[in-house]
């Protein structure tokens, strides 16, 4: 067990492309850190550099205080679980799990004991004599994990280990991974492109984009206080709603009505180079059916009326899609996020808002409904650089903060 420190770690290729740019990250002993981002953001490259499968072209990597830049993977004492599982097809489950121990030249009894212990933890005992070809996807995945835990390495690296499983099994394996990591207390770096995995698994989440770290923090903190537009759009499902907002007379003119601004935001907007146009971000759960809230709550927000397009009742609450007119919010970050999800070509006039209302709401498709939203929870972003203007000393303060 050990801590892992990335000190301005970079990766550039001979042709000049930079895959990873000055990544600074301190992973504490026993911590579970998630690297997340859209494809091509450099998260897998970063993991491979920690593993030693790819050369580090700049900066320093330290494991347990020791510089390991030039060490071969075998001398770093870390185990890795691959997306493809990478089980040795010519060996049985037992032999697969014993392989790292045999390479470490342990004696037969110790190997046998360690393998059966690991098999017990992962419920693989009955499968020990099977070949990988005769296992289901979930079982193969567990064997891959078994091979990693069996030699008690300093750290685990996991490269999208669950992305080949079907949705149901993925949820199940997520808890297996989480429980295993807590039980063993081994430092773990986990790469995923799935924000749900990132939110549920990690102690801390590192969000990457274009080879650079965007924000690092516990999942809830990233959700509540996104540093920029990209983080705000990436974390959360359904994702945050973004609306175009024009600054006029100390107010914001938006498709969901005028939004009053507090002193602090107003001060920021009076600066010479302050943007005249902003992007307003509201999470789906910060909307509510206006007829369901008391006066005290009502005062903290503002209301608007919009036609209801679709109602999806989830039982516990309702997802309501509203149509709002007006300009779309546009920024490089938003286009990138849309491209990652595959919706970049879905451009209609106006935009659709996703809201999460209480189950008691009597909202129906086709009607026009008064909707309230919480001004204390909204975010304002500068479209030119994506910065979250509502963030004050690392905490989002809403639009009204003074």
């Amino acid at each position: 067990m050990a801590d892992i420190v990335l000190d301005k770690v970079s990766k550039s290729f001979p042709d000049g492309t930079v895959a990873v740019r000055d990544v600074d990250l301190e992973i504490a002993d026993g911590e579970f850190v998630i690297l997340v981002g859209p494809s091509g953001c450099g998260k897998s490259t970063t993991l491979n550099m920690i593993a030693g499968l790819e050369d580090i072209t700049g900066g320093e990597l330290r494991i347990a205080g020791e510089r390991v830049n030039d060490k071969a993977p075998r001398d770093r004492d870390i185990a890795m679980v691959f997306q493809s599982y990478a089980l040795y097809p010519n060996m049985t489950v037992r032999e697969n799990m014993a392989f790292p121990l045999r390479l470490a030249k342990l004696d037969k009894e110790t190997i046998e004991q360690k393998v059966s212990e690991a098999a017990k933890v992962l419920e693989l005992t009955a499968l020990l004599d099977r070949k990988p070809a005769n296992l289901s996807g979930g079982q193969r995945q567990r064997v891959a994990m078994g091979r990693a835990i069996v030699r008690s390495p300093k750290a685990f690296l996991m490269d999208e280990p669950l992305s080949n499983l079907d949705a149901k099994l993925r949820v199940q394996m997520r808890t297996v991974v989480s429980r295993l990591q807590k039980k063993l207390g081994t430092t773990t770096v986990y790469v995923t492109h799935d924000q749900t995995e990132a939110m549920t698994l990690g102690d801390r989440v590192v969000i990457m984009r274009g080879g650079a770290v965007q924000q690092v923090g516990p999942p809830q903190e990233l959700y509540d206080n996104p540093a920029n537009l990209f983080v705000a759009g990436f974390i959360g499902s359904p994702s945050m709603n973004f609306l175009h907002a024009a600054v006029e007379d100390g107010k914001l003119r938006t498709a969901v009505g005028d939004v009053p601004l507090g002193d602090r935001i107003r001060r920021e907007l009076t600066a010479e180079d302050a943007p005249r146009e902003l992007i307003l971000g509201i999470r789906p759960e910060h909307f509510e059916d206006a007829s369901l809230i008391d006066d005290e709550t009502r005062a903290r927000g503002t209301e608007f009326e919009a036609p209801v397009e679709i109602v999806e009742s989830m039982g516990s609450d309702k997802y309501v899609y509203l149509t709002v007119e007006g300009e779309r919010a546009s920024a490089a970050e938003l286009e990138e996020l849309a491209a990652d999800v595959g919706t970049e070509d879905l451009t209609g006039s106006g935009s659709s808002l996703v809201t999460r209302l209480s189950a008691e709401s009597t909202v129906a498709e086709g009607e026009s409904r008064r909707i309230w939203f919480n001004l204390e929870k909204i975010h304002l972003f500068d479209p030119s650089n994506g910065r979250n203007l509502t963030l004050h000393e690392g905490r989002a303060a809403g639009a009204l903060a003074s």
Binding site: A51, G52, L53, A72, P73, R74, I78, A79, M80, F82, Q83, S84, Y85, A86, L87, Y88, P89, N90, F99, P100, L103, A104, K131, P132, A133, N134, L135, G137, R140, R147, R151, L157, N164
Partner: protein
């Protein structure tokens, strides 16, 4: 994928085609086998099934030192050449499939060039070279050119096999604490085994069947291989045709090839890499 055509008419059509192909390929072989069992008198009677069966032809060839000696030469030379070519070819193919090294394109290009080069044009220079080096009419004198011409074949076949093996397996082995060499020996090589065996068969057949080099680069029983020895067969008198003996010898030299193929075929298990990675 279209469903396989399983109507009765289609079955007949395919069946007929299969029979034609098999008959076309096997009749000459069976004809030789049949001739080898005929007596001298009935040799030219044109019957497919011999009227009088005899093993005389087989006794004749094994009674002469000439044939047995050639058989030993053939087996020895072919086995040694195959082993060396496959070992070198495996290493080269692995490098070609997995590594980026300067001159990789040149290596692949040159080996393709060697494979295309007409062998007959090399016979005279080789003859001169081997005579001045003292390799003429020796085992190494045949083994060396066989390796040269078998290597491109081996490299091409094997690198195709190596390219099929998932890269992740080697990474996994390295993460598990293997050196490059251990990763190759314990993970990659066992998976490449079907490819190695296939290549071994092809190379062995090439060495075993070669006539051109064998007749040009040998002069005595010391290193003469079977295909050449056959051409030196004579009857008991100069008026007697050694057809029966040649046929018997032809049958005998086919047997090692069949054994070799059968032996290795059992090791060519398809789908050996299944289960390694999610497909």
């Amino acid at each position: 994928m279209a469903a396989m055509d399983t109507t009765a008419a289609a079955k007949w059509r395919w069946g007929l085609l299969d029979v034609v192909v098999v008959v076309f390929a096997l009749v000459p072989v069976l004809w030789i086998a049949s001739l080898s069992f005929k007596t001298t008198g009935t040799l030219t009677d044109g019957n497919f099934i011999p009227r009088e069966w005899t093993l005389d032809n087989y006794r004749t060839i094994f009674s002469t030192d000439q044939f047995v000696r050639a058989l030993v030469n053939s087996i020895g030379i072919a086995l040694i050449a195959t082993t060396i070519a496959v070992v070198l070819g495996t290493m080269a193919a692995y490098a070609v499939a997995r590594l980026d090294f300067p001159g990789k394109k040149a290596l692949v290009g040159v080996s393709l060039l060697i494979a295309m080069f007409p062998q007959v044009s090399l016979v005279s220079p080789l003859f001169e070279i081997e005579r001045s080096l003292g390799l003429f009419d020796t085992w190494p004198g045949l083994i060396l050119p066989y390796i040269t011409f078998a290597l491109p074949l081996a490299i091409y076949t094997l690198s195709a096999f190596f390219k099929q093996i998932p890269w992740d397996l080697e990474k996994a082995a390295k993460m598990d604490g293997a050196t490059q060499g251990q990763a190759f020996r314990r993970v990659i090589a066992p998976l490449a085994a079907p490819g190695v065996f296939t290549t071994a068969i092809l190379v062995f057949i090439f060495c075993w069947n070669d006539f051109l080099f064998a007749i040009s680069l040998t002069s005595t029983e010391r290193s003469r291989t079977v295909p050449v020895a056959l051409s030196f067969f004579t009857g008991e008198s100069q008026f007697e045709d050694p057809t029966g003996a040649i046929c018997a010898a032809a049958v005998v030299i086919t047997i090692p090839i069949i054994l070799f193929v059968l032996f290795f075929q059992r090791r060519i298990v398809s789908g050996l890499t299944s289960g390694a990675v999610k497909g």
